[in-house]
């Protein structure tokens, strides 16, 4: 028998899936912008604003479900986690916008040294795969899949610190390139963190265990 609360939970899931895809798209085009000649700032800003509205909706609906159904156990964990995940998706959009800001308003890295471009490109790909993994874990409710994010998160962390180490050594880098690249790398690292948060939430929903995948 399906319960009255189920239709509300399904509606929340559907909104979250949409948010996930929108958030993924913002990260994707922000990363492309770093190495290709294009301007996605306005598009990202629009989607980012939409994500904020959708997260407000998720919170509102989650509140309603709590008030109306007094959810317990997995229902309660799901609702609490959905609010957190909605916020993580908002952060994806926000950091994508920050990356785009660095690209469009601070000069970006396209004209910087090859090693910077290739580092950002590699890290961007890894981060994008983490975002995808977090969305897939949400859709499949698969804690084993979610756990896999930890490995990539480690690699991204290492790339982040390696980059900073190298940049300090390279005295010939222009200030412009240094500022843009550090900001972009930092934002990417934050997106990676939020992907890990999403995966932690999936494990919490499905198993009740609180784990740290960072």
């Amino acid at each position: 028998m399906s319960r009255i609360i189920d239709s509300g939970l399904e509606e929340l899931s559907a909104v979250l899936y949409k948010m996930g895809e929108l958030a993924y798209h913002t990260v994707l085009i922000a990363i492309r912008e770093c190495v290709e000649s294009r301007d996605s700032y306005n598009e990202i800003r629009e989607i980012s604003d939409t994500l904020i509205l959708m997260a407000d909706y998720v919170e509102d609906k989650a509140f309603e479900l709590i008030a109306r159904f007094q959810p317990v156990a997995s229902d309660l964990r799901t609702i609490k986690s959905y609010m957190k995940i909605a916020y993580d998706f908002v952060r994806f959009g926000r950091y994508a916008l920050d990356v785009s800001h660095a690209n469009q308003k601070l000069g970006g890295i396209r004209n910087c040294d090859k090693w910077i471009i290739s580092h950002v490109k590699d890290m961007g790909e890894k981060v994008l795969s983490m975002v995808r993994l977090s969305i897939d874990s949400l859709k499949s409710r698969d804690p084993q899949l979610a756990e896999k994010v930890a490995q990539i998160e480690n690699e991204v962390d290492k790339m982040y610190f390696d980059f900073l180490d190298e940049l300090i050594e390279r005295v010939d880098t222009t200030i412009k390139c240094a500022v843009s690249s550090v900001l972009i790398i930092r934002y990417l690292e934050r997106i990676a963190d939020h992907s890990a948060y999403v995966c932690e939430s999936i494990i919490y929903i499905t198993t009740g265990k609180r784990v740290i995948l960072r």
């Binding site: 028998m1 319960r3 009255i4 609360i5 008030a67 109306r68 159904f69 007094q70």
Partner: protein, 252 residues
């Protein structure tokens, strides 16, 4: 969309005691409206005023209007029996007719109205029992007594009986208070399903039940309608202090 029921300046008395005071409320079609409030505040009386059952008590008196599809059910020449057919009632304690079979319980109202054709009665029995999700459980026992069923099944049988005469509105007075949690959950799911085609008004002592099943909630206190609005709003952000106190359990 016009409301299904529109209550205007409704007052009700038992003898000289006024138990409903100037109630005004619009009840939406194809929605569930819950009536909540402390014991004795007039919930049952209000419900019984909506289909002219209040006046069955010789002591009772009503003033004001109840517009059903725009027609005042207290108007001159309106047949209360007709009104009770269109606005059915389900009671707190499941009350199937104990000497009757399950089958006869469902069609009791129709037979009273002179329907005899076996084929159409069969069809009504099946349709009504399917509607309340009882058909699969009883289809091989239709000739058994209605009293042989569990409490939850009896209540669904009573709902089927009310639906058999094709009402437009269903009034339910604490339909789950005598039932266990599983049977209660089944009735609640059923209420949501029925709300797609019927207008439902449910009185409940259980605020959580009101929160779960209803689209609109009305809070009564000492015979007055204190607050009425979408259930989400009443339970998240009530406007009236009395409502807040009642639903948070800070009463008295």
């Amino acid at each position: 969309m016009a409301p299904k029921l529109e209550v205007e300046d409704l007052n009700a008395w038992f003898g000289t005691k006024q138990v409903l005071k100037n109630i005004n409320i619009k009840i939406e079609e194809n929605a569930v409206t819950a009536i909540i409030g402390p014991s004795g505040c007039g919930k049952t009386t209000f419900l019984r005023c909506l289909n002219r059952m209040h006046e069955i008590n010789p002591d009772a008196r009503v003033s004001g209007k109840v517009l059903f599809n725009g027609l005042n059910i207290y108007g001159n020449g309106v047949d209360p029996v007709m009104i009770r057919k269109k606005i059915g009632m389900v009671f707190q304690k499941p009350n199937p007719f104990p000497m009757m079979s399950i089958y006869d319980n469902v069609v009791a109202g129709l037979k009273l109205n002179g329907v005899r054709d076996k084929k159409s009665l069969d069809a009504v029995v099946r349709r009504s029992l399917e509607l309340v999700n009882l058909w699969d459980e009883v289809k091989d026992d239709l000739n058994k007594s209605g009293a042989s069923l569990s409490g939850g099944q009896q209540q669904r049988l009573c709902i089927a009986r009310a639906l058999a005469v094709e009402p437009e509105v269903l009034l339910m007075d604490e339909p789950c208070s005598a039932l266990d949690p599983i049977s209660t959950a089944k009735i609640e799911v059923l209420i949501r399903k029925l709300a797609k085609t019927y207008t439902i008004v449910i009185v409940t002592h259980n605020m959580q039940q009101a929160a779960r099943v209803s689209d609109y909630t009305a809070f009564f206190y000492l015979g007055e309608l204190i607050e009425y609005g979408p259930t989400k709003q009443i339970f998240e952000n009530p406007k009236h202090e009395l409502t807040e106190k009642y639903i948070t359990g800070k009463f008295g």
